[in-house]
Amino acid sequence: MRIPSLLATVAFVLLIVGGNVAAADVVAVVSSASAITELSKAQVSEIFLGRVSRFPNGALAVPIDQAEGSQARDEFYFAYTGKSPAQLKAHWAKIVFTGRGQPPKSAPNSSEIRRLLAANPQAIGYLERSAVDGSVRVLER
Protein backbone atom coordinates (compact mmCIF):
# COMPACT_ATOMS: atom_id res chain seq x y z
CA MET A 1 0.00 0.00 0.00
CA ARG A 2 2.83 2.34 0.91
CA ILE A 3 4.92 1.93 -2.21
CA PRO A 4 2.09 2.63 -4.68
CA SER A 5 1.14 5.78 -2.77
CA LEU A 6 4.78 6.88 -2.76
CA LEU A 7 4.96 6.27 -6.51
CA ALA A 8 1.75 8.21 -6.97
CA THR A 9 3.26 11.12 -5.01
CA VAL A 10 6.44 11.05 -7.09
CA ALA A 11 4.39 10.95 -10.28
CA PHE A 12 2.28 13.86 -9.04
CA VAL A 13 5.37 15.93 -8.18
CA LEU A 14 6.92 15.16 -11.59
CA LEU A 15 3.68 16.16 -13.24
CA ILE A 16 3.69 19.51 -11.43
CA VAL A 17 7.37 20.18 -12.14
CA GLY A 18 7.04 19.02 -15.76
CA GLY A 19 3.89 21.04 -16.18
CA ASN A 20 5.67 24.17 -14.97
CA VAL A 21 8.56 23.72 -17.35
CA ALA A 22 6.15 23.35 -20.23
CA ALA A 23 4.09 26.35 -19.13
CA ALA A 24 7.12 28.63 -18.68
CA ASP A 25 6.96 29.99 -22.19
CA VAL A 26 7.23 33.55 -21.00
CA VAL A 27 10.56 35.23 -21.63
CA ALA A 28 12.26 38.30 -20.17
CA VAL A 29 12.88 41.01 -22.77
CA VAL A 30 14.45 44.43 -23.20
CA SER A 31 14.37 46.84 -26.12
CA SER A 32 16.54 45.74 -29.05
CA ALA A 33 18.24 49.12 -28.57
CA SER A 34 19.20 48.25 -24.95
CA ALA A 35 22.83 47.70 -24.02
CA ILE A 36 21.77 44.59 -22.06
CA THR A 37 22.33 41.41 -24.01
CA GLU A 38 21.83 38.71 -21.44
CA LEU A 39 20.69 38.26 -17.84
CA SER A 40 20.25 35.10 -15.80
CA LYS A 41 16.84 34.11 -14.46
CA ALA A 42 18.09 34.96 -10.98
CA GLN A 43 19.14 38.47 -12.06
CA VAL A 44 15.76 39.08 -13.73
CA SER A 45 14.00 37.78 -10.62
CA GLU A 46 15.94 40.15 -8.32
CA ILE A 47 15.00 43.16 -10.48
CA PHE A 48 11.30 42.24 -10.53
CA LEU A 49 11.20 41.55 -6.77
CA GLY A 50 12.72 44.98 -6.10
CA ARG A 51 15.88 43.62 -4.49
CA VAL A 52 18.17 45.06 -7.14
CA SER A 53 17.54 48.31 -8.94
CA ARG A 54 20.37 48.29 -11.48
CA PHE A 55 21.49 46.14 -14.37
CA PRO A 56 24.91 44.49 -14.01
CA ASN A 57 26.38 47.33 -16.13
CA GLY A 58 25.22 49.87 -13.52
CA ALA A 59 22.33 51.38 -15.49
CA LEU A 60 19.05 51.87 -13.63
CA ALA A 61 16.56 49.09 -14.39
CA VAL A 62 12.88 49.93 -14.86
CA PRO A 63 10.80 46.73 -14.61
CA ILE A 64 7.37 46.69 -16.26
CA ASP A 65 4.77 44.11 -15.29
CA GLN A 66 1.98 42.58 -17.31
CA ALA A 67 -1.52 43.28 -15.99
CA GLU A 68 -2.43 41.79 -12.62
CA GLY A 69 -4.27 38.51 -13.09
CA SER A 70 -2.89 37.93 -16.61
CA GLN A 71 -1.63 34.46 -17.42
CA ALA A 72 1.72 35.83 -18.65
CA ARG A 73 2.31 37.53 -15.30
CA ASP A 74 1.45 34.50 -13.18
CA GLU A 75 3.58 32.20 -15.35
CA PHE A 76 6.52 34.60 -15.34
CA TYR A 77 6.61 34.92 -11.56
CA PHE A 78 6.17 31.23 -11.00
CA ALA A 79 8.96 30.34 -13.43
CA TYR A 80 11.40 33.08 -12.40
CA THR A 81 10.75 33.51 -8.65
CA GLY A 82 8.80 30.41 -7.59
CA LYS A 83 6.08 32.69 -6.20
CA SER A 84 2.32 32.30 -6.61
CA PRO A 85 0.18 35.44 -7.10
CA ALA A 86 -0.65 35.41 -3.36
CA GLN A 87 3.02 35.06 -2.37
CA LEU A 88 3.94 37.89 -4.71
CA LYS A 89 1.18 40.04 -3.22
CA ALA A 90 2.51 39.29 0.28
CA HIS A 91 6.07 40.08 -0.85
CA TRP A 92 5.08 43.54 -2.05
CA ALA A 93 2.68 44.24 0.82
CA LYS A 94 5.59 43.72 3.18
CA ILE A 95 7.64 46.31 1.27
CA VAL A 96 4.82 48.82 0.68
CA PHE A 97 3.54 48.83 4.29
CA THR A 98 7.03 49.41 5.68
CA GLY A 99 7.60 52.33 3.30
CA ARG A 100 10.44 50.59 1.49
CA GLY A 101 9.17 50.74 -2.08
CA GLN A 102 6.45 50.20 -4.63
CA PRO A 103 5.83 47.29 -7.02
CA PRO A 104 6.73 47.73 -10.71
CA LYS A 105 4.34 49.66 -12.90
CA SER A 106 2.17 47.49 -15.07
CA ALA A 107 1.03 47.75 -18.66
CA PRO A 108 -2.32 46.42 -19.91
CA ASN A 109 -1.08 44.18 -22.72
CA SER A 110 1.91 42.89 -24.68
CA SER A 111 1.82 45.54 -27.40
CA GLU A 112 1.87 48.26 -24.75
CA ILE A 113 4.87 46.56 -23.13
CA ARG A 114 6.70 46.46 -26.48
CA ARG A 115 5.90 50.15 -26.94
CA LEU A 116 7.24 51.07 -23.48
CA LEU A 117 10.37 48.99 -24.00
CA ALA A 118 11.03 50.71 -27.32
CA ALA A 119 10.58 54.11 -25.65
CA ASN A 120 12.94 53.37 -22.74
CA PRO A 121 16.18 51.40 -23.16
CA GLN A 122 16.34 51.01 -19.34
CA ALA A 123 13.01 49.20 -19.22
CA ILE A 124 12.75 45.45 -18.81
CA GLY A 125 9.62 43.35 -19.29
CA TYR A 126 8.44 39.86 -20.15
CA LEU A 127 6.34 38.53 -23.00
CA GLU A 128 4.83 35.28 -24.10
CA ARG A 129 7.22 33.89 -26.68
CA SER A 130 4.53 34.29 -29.35
CA ALA A 131 4.42 38.06 -28.65
CA VAL A 132 8.15 38.55 -29.22
CA ASP A 133 9.04 40.58 -32.34
CA GLY A 134 12.07 42.39 -33.75
CA SER A 135 11.64 45.41 -31.46
CA VAL A 136 12.72 43.42 -28.39
CA ARG A 137 15.65 41.27 -27.36
CA VAL A 138 15.07 38.04 -25.44
CA LEU A 139 17.36 37.77 -22.42
CA GLU A 140 18.38 34.18 -22.25
CA ARG A 141 21.48 32.75 -20.84
Binding site: K83, S84, H91, A93, F97, Q102
Partner: protein, 419 residues
Protein backbone atom coordinates in the same frame (compact mmCIF):
# COMPACT_ATOMS: atom_id res chain seq x y z
CA UNK B 1 5.65 69.01 31.20
CA UNK B 2 8.45 68.77 28.70
CA UNK B 3 7.03 65.46 27.58
CA UNK B 4 3.61 67.00 26.95
CA UNK B 5 5.20 69.75 24.87
CA UNK B 6 7.23 67.19 22.95
CA UNK B 7 4.14 65.09 22.32
CA UNK B 8 2.20 68.10 21.10
CA UNK B 9 5.03 69.12 18.81
CA UNK B 10 5.11 65.59 17.48
CA UNK B 11 1.39 65.51 16.86
CA UNK B 12 1.61 68.86 15.08
CA UNK B 13 4.46 67.60 12.92
CA UNK B 14 2.46 64.53 11.92
CA UNK B 15 -0.63 66.63 11.18
CA UNK B 16 1.32 68.98 8.96
CA UNK B 17 2.93 66.04 7.17
CA UNK B 18 -0.52 64.59 6.42
CA UNK B 19 -1.79 68.02 5.35
CA UNK B 20 1.21 68.53 3.08
CA UNK B 21 0.61 65.18 1.46
CA UNK B 22 -3.10 65.72 0.94
CA UNK B 23 -2.69 69.30 -0.20
CA UNK B 24 0.18 68.80 -2.60
CA UNK B 25 -0.64 69.17 -6.28
CA UNK B 26 -1.68 65.96 -7.96
CA UNK B 27 -0.35 67.35 -11.21
CA UNK B 28 3.10 66.01 -10.36
CA UNK B 29 2.60 62.88 -12.43
CA UNK B 30 5.73 61.04 -13.45
CA UNK B 31 6.16 60.07 -17.06
CA UNK B 32 6.08 56.33 -16.46
CA UNK B 33 2.84 54.40 -16.90
CA UNK B 34 0.73 54.33 -13.79
CA UNK B 35 3.27 56.37 -11.83
CA UNK B 36 1.33 58.45 -9.37
CA UNK B 37 1.98 61.19 -6.95
CA UNK B 38 -0.19 59.63 -4.27
CA UNK B 39 -0.79 56.00 -3.55
CA UNK B 40 -3.37 54.78 -1.12
CA UNK B 41 -3.43 51.30 0.33
CA UNK B 42 -5.08 49.47 3.19
CA UNK B 43 -4.93 46.23 5.10
CA UNK B 44 -6.86 44.51 7.81
CA UNK B 45 -7.62 41.45 9.85
CA UNK B 46 -10.87 40.22 11.30
CA UNK B 47 -10.12 37.52 13.82
CA UNK B 48 -11.55 35.78 16.84
CA UNK B 49 -9.73 33.81 19.50
CA UNK B 50 -10.95 31.31 22.10
CA UNK B 51 -8.85 30.34 25.11
CA UNK B 52 -9.31 27.30 27.36
CA UNK B 53 -8.10 29.37 30.36
CA UNK B 54 -11.01 31.44 31.65
CA UNK B 55 -9.17 32.97 34.63
CA UNK B 56 -6.70 35.01 32.59
CA UNK B 57 -6.58 36.75 29.22
CA UNK B 58 -4.54 35.85 26.19
CA UNK B 59 -3.64 38.80 24.01
CA UNK B 60 -1.31 39.57 21.13
CA UNK B 61 0.43 42.70 22.33
CA UNK B 62 1.91 44.18 25.52
CA UNK B 63 -0.22 47.30 24.98
CA UNK B 64 -3.62 45.59 24.98
CA UNK B 65 -5.71 45.63 28.18
CA UNK B 66 -7.61 42.34 27.74
CA UNK B 67 -8.34 39.55 25.33
CA UNK B 68 -9.53 35.96 25.09
CA UNK B 69 -10.23 33.83 28.15
CA UNK B 70 -11.45 35.80 31.14
CA UNK B 71 -12.79 38.95 29.45
CA UNK B 72 -14.26 37.27 26.36
CA UNK B 73 -14.81 33.58 25.68
CA UNK B 74 -14.35 34.49 22.00
CA UNK B 75 -12.37 37.70 21.66
CA UNK B 76 -12.32 39.78 18.48
CA UNK B 77 -9.83 42.19 20.07
CA UNK B 78 -6.70 40.02 19.95
CA UNK B 79 -6.02 40.08 16.21
CA UNK B 80 -8.58 42.39 14.57
CA UNK B 81 -7.35 45.65 13.12
CA UNK B 82 -7.66 47.87 10.11
CA UNK B 83 -4.94 50.08 8.68
CA UNK B 84 -4.71 52.66 5.92
CA UNK B 85 -1.66 54.16 4.33
CA UNK B 86 -0.91 57.05 2.06
CA UNK B 87 2.40 57.49 0.27
CA UNK B 88 3.22 60.73 -1.54
CA UNK B 89 6.07 60.94 -4.02
CA UNK B 90 7.01 64.62 -4.06
CA UNK B 91 10.05 64.13 -6.30
CA UNK B 92 11.81 60.93 -7.40
CA UNK B 93 13.98 61.28 -4.27
CA UNK B 94 11.61 62.76 -1.70
CA UNK B 95 8.55 60.91 -0.44
CA UNK B 96 6.37 60.84 2.63
CA UNK B 97 4.26 58.16 4.25
CA UNK B 98 1.57 58.04 6.89
CA UNK B 99 0.06 54.79 8.13
CA UNK B 100 -2.76 54.80 10.68
CA UNK B 101 -4.16 51.74 12.42
CA UNK B 102 -7.35 51.17 14.35
CA UNK B 103 -7.07 48.28 16.81
CA UNK B 104 -7.74 47.70 20.49
CA UNK B 105 -5.74 50.37 22.35
CA UNK B 106 -4.33 50.35 25.87
CA UNK B 107 -7.60 51.85 27.16
CA UNK B 108 -9.87 49.47 25.25
CA UNK B 109 -10.82 52.10 22.65
CA UNK B 110 -10.31 51.68 18.90
CA UNK B 111 -9.23 55.26 18.21
CA UNK B 112 -6.80 55.12 15.28
CA UNK B 113 -3.16 55.77 16.05
CA UNK B 114 -0.34 56.76 13.71
CA UNK B 115 1.98 53.78 13.30
CA UNK B 116 4.30 55.28 10.65
CA UNK B 117 4.71 58.93 9.57
CA UNK B 118 7.93 60.00 7.98
CA UNK B 119 9.66 61.80 5.16
CA UNK B 120 12.13 59.76 3.16
CA UNK B 121 14.99 61.01 1.06
CA UNK B 122 16.36 58.43 -1.36
CA UNK B 123 19.92 59.48 -2.22
CA UNK B 124 20.43 56.52 -4.55
CA UNK B 125 18.34 53.36 -5.08
CA UNK B 126 20.51 51.79 -2.36
CA UNK B 127 20.71 54.58 0.22
CA UNK B 128 17.95 56.42 2.03
CA UNK B 129 17.26 58.32 5.20
CA UNK B 130 13.89 58.79 6.92
CA UNK B 131 12.81 61.30 9.53
CA UNK B 132 9.68 60.92 11.62
CA UNK B 133 7.95 57.90 13.05
CA UNK B 134 9.18 54.46 12.08
CA UNK B 135 8.71 50.95 13.46
CA UNK B 136 11.83 49.28 14.84
CA UNK B 137 13.19 46.31 12.87
CA UNK B 138 13.89 44.02 15.86
CA UNK B 139 12.64 40.80 14.32
CA UNK B 140 12.07 39.45 10.80
CA UNK B 141 8.35 40.29 10.99
CA UNK B 142 8.39 43.28 13.39
CA UNK B 143 7.74 46.01 10.87
CA UNK B 144 5.06 44.09 8.99
CA UNK B 145 3.50 42.28 11.96
CA UNK B 146 0.26 44.25 11.64
CA UNK B 147 -0.19 43.27 7.99
CA UNK B 148 -1.06 39.68 8.80
CA UNK B 149 -1.60 38.90 5.11
CA UNK B 150 2.19 39.04 4.72
CA UNK B 151 2.80 36.47 7.50
CA UNK B 152 2.35 32.70 7.36
CA UNK B 153 0.58 32.55 10.76
CA UNK B 154 -2.41 34.19 12.46
CA UNK B 155 0.18 36.20 14.44
CA UNK B 156 3.95 36.02 14.94
CA UNK B 157 4.91 33.56 17.73
CA UNK B 158 4.26 35.22 21.12
CA UNK B 159 7.30 33.62 22.74
CA UNK B 160 9.76 35.69 20.73
CA UNK B 161 7.59 38.68 19.80
CA UNK B 162 6.73 39.45 23.44
CA UNK B 163 10.44 39.75 24.36
CA UNK B 164 10.58 43.47 23.65
CA UNK B 165 7.61 45.73 23.09
CA UNK B 166 7.69 46.25 19.33
CA UNK B 167 6.88 49.86 18.94
CA UNK B 168 7.07 52.96 16.83
CA UNK B 169 10.10 55.13 17.40
CA UNK B 170 10.10 58.88 16.81
CA UNK B 171 13.37 59.88 15.23
CA UNK B 172 14.64 58.38 12.05
CA UNK B 173 16.59 55.70 10.26
CA UNK B 174 19.09 55.25 7.47
CA UNK B 175 19.31 52.31 5.15
CA UNK B 176 22.14 51.21 2.91
CA UNK B 177 22.12 48.18 0.62
CA UNK B 178 25.30 46.49 -0.57
CA UNK B 179 25.29 44.10 -3.51
CA UNK B 180 27.97 41.51 -3.98
CA UNK B 181 27.36 38.71 -6.43
CA UNK B 182 24.02 37.15 -5.56
CA UNK B 183 24.02 38.52 -2.02
CA UNK B 184 22.16 41.71 -1.09
CA UNK B 185 22.86 43.10 2.33
CA UNK B 186 20.83 45.93 3.84
CA UNK B 187 22.12 47.77 6.89
CA UNK B 188 19.59 49.85 8.81
CA UNK B 189 20.39 52.13 11.72
CA UNK B 190 17.71 53.85 13.80
CA UNK B 191 17.71 56.51 16.50
CA UNK B 192 14.79 57.93 18.43
CA UNK B 193 12.48 57.79 21.41
CA UNK B 194 9.31 55.87 22.20
CA UNK B 195 6.35 57.00 24.29
CA UNK B 196 3.57 54.58 25.07
CA UNK B 197 0.67 54.28 27.44
CA UNK B 198 0.19 51.03 29.33
CA UNK B 199 -3.08 49.30 30.17
CA UNK B 200 -2.18 49.61 33.90
CA UNK B 201 -2.51 53.39 33.66
CA UNK B 202 1.23 54.04 33.55
CA UNK B 203 3.52 55.04 30.76
CA UNK B 204 6.56 53.52 29.13
CA UNK B 205 9.21 55.79 27.65
CA UNK B 206 12.48 54.91 26.00
CA UNK B 207 15.19 57.51 25.48
CA UNK B 208 18.40 57.41 23.46
CA UNK B 209 17.00 54.37 21.67
CA UNK B 210 19.17 53.18 18.82
CA UNK B 211 19.41 50.01 16.82
CA UNK B 212 21.41 48.54 14.04
CA UNK B 213 20.30 45.65 11.89
CA UNK B 214 21.56 43.74 8.90
CA UNK B 215 19.29 41.86 6.53
CA UNK B 216 21.04 39.50 4.15
CA UNK B 217 19.16 38.16 1.16
CA UNK B 218 20.46 35.59 -1.25
CA UNK B 219 18.04 33.75 -3.50
CA UNK B 220 15.52 31.99 -1.24
CA UNK B 221 17.44 32.72 1.95
CA UNK B 222 16.91 35.74 4.21
CA UNK B 223 18.92 36.26 7.39
CA UNK B 224 18.43 39.05 9.91
CA UNK B 225 20.63 40.27 12.74
CA UNK B 226 19.73 43.15 15.03
CA UNK B 227 20.95 44.92 18.12
CA UNK B 228 19.00 47.54 20.04
CA UNK B 229 19.59 49.55 23.15
CA UNK B 230 17.84 52.36 24.96
CA UNK B 231 17.01 53.79 28.36
CA UNK B 232 13.61 52.62 29.56
CA UNK B 233 11.37 54.17 32.21
CA UNK B 234 8.14 52.51 33.35
CA UNK B 235 6.21 55.00 35.46
CA UNK B 236 4.10 52.60 37.56
CA UNK B 237 7.04 50.45 38.60
CA UNK B 238 9.17 53.52 39.26
CA UNK B 239 6.54 54.67 41.77
CA UNK B 240 6.72 51.28 43.53
CA UNK B 241 10.50 51.44 43.86
CA UNK B 242 10.24 55.00 45.16
CA UNK B 243 8.50 53.43 48.18
CA UNK B 244 11.48 51.07 48.67
CA UNK B 245 13.79 54.06 48.88
CA UNK B 246 12.07 55.14 52.13
CA UNK B 247 13.67 52.12 53.83
CA UNK B 248 17.20 53.49 54.02
CA UNK B 249 20.27 51.86 52.57
CA UNK B 250 18.75 48.42 52.01
CA UNK B 251 15.75 49.96 50.25
CA UNK B 252 18.04 52.05 48.07
CA UNK B 253 20.07 48.96 47.18
CA UNK B 254 16.92 47.10 46.05
CA UNK B 255 15.65 50.09 44.08
CA UNK B 256 19.06 50.51 42.44
CA UNK B 257 18.84 46.90 41.29
CA UNK B 258 15.25 46.83 40.14
CA UNK B 259 13.81 50.31 39.49
CA UNK B 260 13.04 50.63 35.76
CA UNK B 261 13.88 54.33 35.73
CA UNK B 262 16.10 55.38 32.84
CA UNK B 263 17.46 51.82 32.80
CA UNK B 264 19.51 50.43 29.93
CA UNK B 265 17.64 47.85 27.89
CA UNK B 266 19.58 45.76 25.43
CA UNK B 267 18.28 43.37 22.83
CA UNK B 268 20.07 41.09 20.42
CA UNK B 269 18.25 39.03 17.81
CA UNK B 270 19.12 36.69 14.97
CA UNK B 271 16.83 34.95 12.53
CA UNK B 272 16.72 33.26 9.17
CA UNK B 273 14.08 32.22 6.68
CA UNK B 274 14.39 29.84 3.75
CA UNK B 275 11.51 30.07 1.29
CA UNK B 276 12.05 28.52 -2.15
CA UNK B 277 8.32 28.89 -2.95
CA UNK B 278 6.70 25.55 -2.26
CA UNK B 279 7.70 25.39 1.42
CA UNK B 280 9.34 27.50 4.09
CA UNK B 281 11.46 27.16 7.19
CA UNK B 282 11.82 30.07 9.63
CA UNK B 283 13.80 30.28 12.85
CA UNK B 284 14.42 33.29 15.10
CA UNK B 285 16.17 33.78 18.40
CA UNK B 286 16.43 36.79 20.70
CA UNK B 287 17.66 37.80 24.11
CA UNK B 288 16.95 40.87 26.24
CA UNK B 289 18.36 42.35 29.39
CA UNK B 290 16.29 45.11 31.00
CA UNK B 291 18.78 45.67 33.86
CA UNK B 292 15.74 46.04 36.11
CA UNK B 293 12.89 44.12 37.70
CA UNK B 294 11.90 43.00 34.17
CA UNK B 295 15.02 40.82 34.21
CA UNK B 296 16.60 38.86 31.40
CA UNK B 297 14.72 36.79 28.88
CA UNK B 298 15.64 34.56 25.97
CA UNK B 299 13.29 33.16 23.34
CA UNK B 300 13.30 31.34 20.05
CA UNK B 301 10.95 29.60 17.65
CA UNK B 302 11.10 27.44 14.58
CA UNK B 303 8.32 27.17 12.03
CA UNK B 304 7.83 25.28 8.82
CA UNK B 305 5.05 25.12 6.27
CA UNK B 306 4.32 23.41 3.00
CA UNK B 307 2.31 24.97 0.19
CA UNK B 308 -0.32 22.74 -1.38
CA UNK B 309 -2.00 24.87 -4.06
CA UNK B 310 -3.96 27.47 -2.05
CA UNK B 311 -3.40 25.82 1.34
CA UNK B 312 -0.28 26.33 3.46
CA UNK B 313 -0.36 24.16 6.59
CA UNK B 314 2.33 25.00 9.15
CA UNK B 315 3.79 23.82 12.43
CA UNK B 316 5.57 26.07 14.95
CA UNK B 317 7.42 25.47 18.20
CA UNK B 318 8.34 28.41 20.42
CA UNK B 319 10.01 28.77 23.78
CA UNK B 320 10.39 31.76 26.11
CA UNK B 321 12.57 31.61 29.20
CA UNK B 322 13.15 34.05 32.04
CA UNK B 323 16.85 33.66 32.72
CA UNK B 324 17.16 35.95 35.77
CA UNK B 325 16.08 35.22 39.36
CA UNK B 326 12.33 35.02 39.81
CA UNK B 327 12.34 35.78 43.54
CA UNK B 328 14.19 38.03 45.99
CA UNK B 329 14.25 38.06 49.81
CA UNK B 330 13.60 41.83 49.58
CA UNK B 331 13.75 44.08 52.62
CA UNK B 332 15.02 42.48 55.82
CA UNK B 333 11.84 42.88 57.86
CA UNK B 334 13.37 41.73 61.18
CA UNK B 335 15.82 44.66 61.12
CA UNK B 336 12.98 47.21 60.90
CA UNK B 337 10.92 48.82 63.66
CA UNK B 338 7.59 46.93 64.13
CA UNK B 339 5.61 49.86 62.69
CA UNK B 340 7.41 49.48 59.35
CA UNK B 341 7.24 45.71 59.07
CA UNK B 342 3.71 45.75 57.61
CA UNK B 343 4.57 48.09 54.70
CA UNK B 344 7.87 46.21 54.18
CA UNK B 345 6.04 42.89 53.90
CA UNK B 346 3.71 44.52 51.38
CA UNK B 347 6.58 45.83 49.27
CA UNK B 348 8.39 42.48 49.38
CA UNK B 349 5.21 40.77 48.23
CA UNK B 350 4.81 43.28 45.37
CA UNK B 351 8.43 42.79 44.28
CA UNK B 352 8.14 39.01 44.34
CA UNK B 353 4.84 39.07 42.52
CA UNK B 354 6.50 41.00 39.65
CA UNK B 355 9.57 38.77 39.59
CA UNK B 356 7.42 35.64 39.85
CA UNK B 357 5.12 36.68 37.01
CA UNK B 358 7.93 36.77 34.45
CA UNK B 359 6.84 34.94 31.36
CA UNK B 360 8.30 31.48 30.86
CA UNK B 361 6.48 29.13 28.48
CA UNK B 362 6.56 26.79 25.47
CA UNK B 363 4.02 26.60 22.66
CA UNK B 364 3.31 24.16 19.87
CA UNK B 365 1.13 25.66 17.13
CA UNK B 366 -0.47 24.02 14.16
CA UNK B 367 -2.48 25.86 11.59
CA UNK B 368 -3.13 26.58 7.97
CA UNK B 369 -3.39 29.52 5.67
CA UNK B 370 -5.91 29.36 2.85
CA UNK B 371 -5.64 31.86 -0.01
CA UNK B 372 -9.36 32.18 -0.50
CA UNK B 373 -9.59 35.08 -2.92
CA UNK B 374 -7.18 37.43 -4.58
CA UNK B 375 -5.78 39.58 -1.71
CA UNK B 376 -7.72 37.69 0.97
CA UNK B 377 -6.62 34.79 3.13
CA UNK B 378 -8.26 32.80 5.90
CA UNK B 379 -6.18 31.27 8.67
CA UNK B 380 -7.05 28.75 11.34
CA UNK B 381 -4.59 28.07 14.17
CA UNK B 382 -4.46 25.91 17.29
CA UNK B 383 -1.89 26.69 19.99
CA UNK B 384 -1.02 24.46 22.93
CA UNK B 385 0.96 26.39 25.55
CA UNK B 386 2.65 24.92 28.61
CA UNK B 387 3.38 27.50 31.31
CA UNK B 388 6.51 26.84 33.37
CA UNK B 389 6.13 26.13 37.10
CA UNK B 390 5.12 29.31 38.92
CA UNK B 391 4.80 31.39 35.74
CA UNK B 392 1.62 32.80 34.21
CA UNK B 393 3.42 32.97 30.86
CA UNK B 394 2.39 35.86 28.65
CA UNK B 395 -1.17 35.81 30.05
CA UNK B 396 -2.60 38.98 31.61
CA UNK B 397 -5.52 39.91 33.91
CA UNK B 398 -4.89 36.97 36.24
CA UNK B 399 -8.02 36.26 38.29
CA UNK B 400 -8.44 34.58 41.70
CA UNK B 401 -8.17 30.84 41.22
CA UNK B 402 -5.77 31.09 38.27
CA UNK B 403 -3.20 28.30 38.42
CA UNK B 404 0.33 29.04 37.24
CA UNK B 405 2.29 26.33 35.49
CA UNK B 406 -0.69 24.84 33.67
CA UNK B 407 -1.52 24.43 30.02
CA UNK B 408 -3.59 26.69 27.78
CA UNK B 409 -5.19 25.85 24.46
CA UNK B 410 -6.07 28.57 21.99
CA UNK B 411 -8.16 28.39 18.88
CA UNK B 412 -7.95 31.28 16.40
CA UNK B 413 -9.64 32.08 13.11
CA UNK B 414 -8.65 35.15 11.10
CA UNK B 415 -9.40 36.68 7.73
CA UNK B 416 -6.67 38.98 6.39
CA UNK B 417 -6.77 41.30 3.42
CA UNK B 418 -4.59 43.82 1.64
CA UNK B 419 -5.77 46.42 -0.77
Amino acid sequence: MLRIIAQRAQRRAICSLVAAMLGSPLAYAADEPGASMLSLSAFGTLGIVHSSEDRADFTSDLFKPNGAGYTHAWSPDVDSRIGAQIIANFTPQLSGMVQAISEQNYDGSFTPHVEWANLKYQFTPDASVRFGRIVLPNFLFSQSRNVAYTNPWVRPPRELYSLVPVDSSDGGDFSYTLHSGRVNQTWVGTYGVTNSKKPNGGTGNTRRLWSISDTIESGSLTAHLSYQQGNLTLSKLHTLFGAFRRFGAQGDALADTYDPFNRRLTFFGAGAMYDPGSWFLIGEWGTTDFHSVLGKNTAWYASSGYRLAKLTPYLTYGQLRATSDRSDPGLNVSSLPPALSGPAFGLNAALNSILGSMADQKTVSIGTRWDVLKDVDLKVQYDHTRLSAGSPGTLINLQPGFQTGGTVNLFSIAIDFVW
